[in-house]
């Protein structure tokens, strides 16, 4: 293009990352009894950002004990007081949102445009929303004076580190629970910064505890006998393992897992907006989104026209430095994830699907994957069934609304779906038939704290957000 945008990087001077982080237990940063450390790197450069602590079972026990001790007072606080703590947290997040956006972009690899315009505003909004519930639980439809569960063990993924923290911690605290949260192994930093926000807000010690580490830390937390509630967002495989772990206990469980969302485009769709929706459906956050519209189901009669528009649009996507304000596509979060995407796309080709990517130069260091489109994909292809969790779109066709619904529902998952048509009655009819928890008609990947989110089938159970999100943390 003639109109070349000069680099417009967001300054990283606004973030001060410490060289080493301990565990946040009982209101202070402490060392692990084991002394093991991990490194977190910036996925776009592979630069080591900081070292952090690998919590072992003993550390987890310490954190659960602190949360248990804090529970008595915290749950006895008048709701209005708990609310004010959450309002404080929400405000501080707004005040520090630029810093947190830059931090999240550094640690996760996603573009600053997204952390600035999507992640951080949603994080603050989520705390605001649940703050308001804390003193209104009698009116939430769960009976009068619904009780909290106790200590919540929460394990969150790396794709929206701070937003997933907000989805877990805000409703837990509003309902009077205390929390031990484990951020993902590759993105611990924003949760550790959140500990500092708790300090600034004056949150009583032990109400929020952050234990960092890999899957072993999460397993110890989930299995801890004094945890009353387990909330997990992540892969379906790990979700099933957790479901087995808590079987036979009294632990309440909510799971938000994988997906293979169908984005259905009918021949009467608003084409230009549909193209935008397809793009945000699968390339938002490099496709590392559980509710991504990773299967495009396009009516056969408009396939050519739509794909042409889509390819033209993909050619304008700007991939590169995530801190650049004009970057659309950032880095893949980790070498492991990149390897998985690479393997699955290779399999797609091997199984006969046709691969296409726009001309796109990838940076020499860091973890990168070009936006990729597969055509000639059928229901039998692995890339039409398995969650890739990357910027890879599988294109399938259909002939009739019935066939579209049948193909969309032909999945072990049931998290999200999209419908594109200008015919209102078709939207309602198709939405009614789709077995998915979140359906976007003539839009995609929209989130709001008031809007319940969660899946059908193997995409998990329980809802986060809205009035529904309270249930997961109440003894009802």
């Amino acid at each position: 293009m003639a109109f070349e945008y000069a680099p417009a990087p967001e300054s990283r001077a606004i973030v001060n990352i410490a060289p080493l982080y301990g565990l946040f237990i009982d209101g202070e940063f402490v060392e692990s009894s084991g002394g093991d450390l991990n490194k977190t790197v910036s996925p776009s450069t592979e630069e080591v950002l900081a070292e952090y602590t690998q919590a072992n079972a003993e550390d987890v026990d310490r954190a659960v004990k602190a949360a248990r001790k804090a529970f008595e007072k915290w749950s006895a606080l008048p709701g209005a007081e708990r609310a004010k703590y959450l309002f404080r947290i929400a405000r501080i997040i707004q005040e520090r949102s630029r810093e947190l956006a830059v931090l999240e972009t550094l640690d996760n690899g996603k573009p600053i445009r997204e952390t600035r315009d999507a992640d951080l505003p949603l994080v603050a909004a989520h705390f605001f929303y649940y703050a308001g519930w804390a003193d209104k639980l009698d009116h939430a439809g769960f009976g009068t004076n619904p009780r909290p569960l106790g200590v919540a063990g929460q394990v969150i993924p790396w794709n929206f580190p701070l937003l997933m923290l907000a989805w877990k911690i805000a409703p837990a605290l509003a309902t009077g629970n205390t929390v031990v949260l484990k951020p993902a192994e590759t993105t611990p930093l924003s949760a550790l910064f959140f500990a500092d926000i708790c300090r600034q807000a004056g949150l009583p010690k032990g109400v929020v505890n952050i234990v960092t580490g890999d899957g072993r830390t999460g397993a110890a937390l989930v299995a801890h006998p004094d945890v009353n509630k387990v909330a997990f967002t992540g892969s379906t495989a790990v979700g099933k393992e957790i479901a087995r772990t808590v079987a036979g206990s009294r632990k309440k469980l909510t799971l938000e897992l994988g997906g293979k969302g169908a984005n259905i485009v009918f021949d009467d769709a608003p084409i230009d907006q549909a193209v935008e929706g397809i793009v945000s459906g699968i390339f938002f956050n490099q496709g590392q989104v559980c509710c991504a519209g990773s299967r495009l189901l396009v009516q056969e009669s408009i396939q050519e026209e739509l794909l042409e528009s889509l390819k033209r649009r993909l050619s304008t996507l700007r991939l590169g430095d995530p801190l650049d304000k004009n970057t659309d596509i950032g880095a893949i979060n980790s070498a492991e994830q990149l390897a998985r995407i690479t393997a699955l796309t290779a399999q797609g080709e091997a199984e006969g699907a046709e691969r296409w990517s726009p001309a796109c130069e990838l940076p020499s260091s860091g973890y990168w994957f070009a936006p990729t489109l597969f055509t000639n994909v059928t229901q039998a292809h692995t890339i039409a069934r398995d969650e890739i969790f990357g910027p890879v779109l599988s294109v399938l066709t259909f002939r009739t609304p019935d066939e579209a619904v049948a193909k969309a529902n032909n999945s072990q998952y049931g998290l999200s779906a999209g419908i594109w048509t200008e015919k209102g009655s078709r939207i309602l009819a198709v939405a009614n038939k789709l077995r998915a928890g979140v359906i976007w008609s003539n839009t995609f990947n929209k989130f709001d704290p008031t809007s319940p989110f969660g899946g059908y089938k193997e995409s998990g159970f329980g809802r986060e957000g809205g009035r529904h999100g309270l249930e997961a943390y109440l003894d009802v």
Binding site: F3, A6, A8, P270, D272, Q273
Partner: protein
């Protein structure tokens, strides 16, 4: 990357007002293109125009807003400002217009910044038909075109004979470009053929003498579906440019309606091979706004339209803000209104 930019920048500072067109241009008369059949009657036009894909308002506005968050800095900003200046149709359309006012406007169009002769000229001045001769004299010897609104601007409520006479007067006085208004009443009443035939008639009158810009008054068409239909109707009838607004109603150019019209010219060229220009007009007052529109052009239709032969801003106060920003980039300090000329 830098050298690529520098090369384009160098081309730009010379600011040709007539870029070589990548596709054959049309000259006068009934247009010939692949879609001729659809223009046979009201009903064939209706079937065609109503068969165009619908527009989802929320999605369209969201896309326009999202492109508005692009951060255009340093060299890119310098490029964008000069490009924007070169695309301005510097406009005065007041009842109180006088020869003196028009002469001042013409002088400013030729040399927008008297303190810096490297500043590109604007694309055109835009005046009422009775001021064309004055304007023509004022820009004589420069690259600046004279555009004239016509066809009973801004309402367009006059008999066709009057409208055509209006156009002829302007052309006879030397207008290079005619900015006509469509009959919005006929459009809203579903008389697409009437709107079509008027545009064809005006285009015939323009002949080879003037390029035709067709103003839809998008604020009065109200819906995005209507704007898309009007765009196609105008292009089918032979418009060289499609233009949002007169500047005389409450809602004029917006990023969303301009994005929509850019999509229309993009799709029209894909289907017919004919390239049509776009002119947002009214309400664009700041450099920031203008740059957002250029981003829309850049990411919707690309390089082929990034030239004042294919994209214009209908504006008056915009120019001074562009000039102040240009001075800021050159000197590093903020400028003020006393350092640009009043209009």
């Amino acid at each position: 990357m830098y050298s690529r930019y520098a090369r384009r920048y160098a081309r730009l500072v010379t600011m040709p007002t007539n870029a070589p067109s990548p596709t054959a241009e049309r000259v006068g008369g009934t247009p010939t293109h692949a879609l001729q059949d659809v223009t046979a009657s009201d009903s064939t036009l209706r079937r065609f125009l109503h068969g165009l894909p619908g527009v989802d308002a929320v999605g369209l506005e969201a896309r326009a807003a999202s492109l508005g968050t692009r951060s255009i800095k340093t060299t890119a900003k310098a490029y964008a400002i000069d490009l924007a200046i070169s695309m301005v149709d510097l406009t005065t359309l007041e009842g109180a217009d006088t020869p003196g006012k028009v002469r001042a406007l013409g002088a400013k169009a030729v040399h927008p910044d008297p303190t810096d002769r490297t500043t590109p000229a604007t694309a055109a001045v835009c005046v009422y038909p009775d001021m064309v001769a004055t304007a023509k004299a004022a820009v004589a010897g420069s690259s600046v075109k004279v555009a004239s609104v016509a066809t009973a601007f801004p309402a367009g409520r006059a008999p066709i004979a009057v409208k055509l006479a209006d156009v002829r007067e302007a052309i006879d006085a030397g207008a290079d470009e005619i900015d006509m208004v469509i009959d919005r009443g006929a459009f809203l009443a579903g008389h697409y053929a009437k709107v079509y035939e008027e545009i064809v008639a005006v285009k015939e009158t323009c002949g080879t003498s003037a390029r035709l810009k067709v103003i839809f008054e998008t604020g009065e068409l109200s819906t995005y579906d209507n704007i898309r239909r009007a765009s196609w109707l105008g292009m089918l009838a032979g418009a060289d440019f499609i233009k949002t607004s007169t500047g005389k109603v409450a809602v004029n150019a917006t990023p969303a309606n301009t994005l929509l019209m850019l999509e229309a010219v993009r799709d029209f060229r894909a289907q017919t091979g004919v390239q049509v220009g776009v002119k947002p007009a009214g309400g664009i007052r700041t450099t920031k706004d203008a740059v957002k529109f250029l981003v829309l052009v850049n990411e919707t239709v690309g390089e082929d339209w990034l030239d004042n032969h294919w994209f214009r801003f209908g504006a008056s106060s915009l120019l001074n803000d562009l000039l102040m920003q240009r001075q800021k980039l050159a000197t590093g300090r903020y400028s003020g209104p006393d350092y640009v000329t009043v209009d």
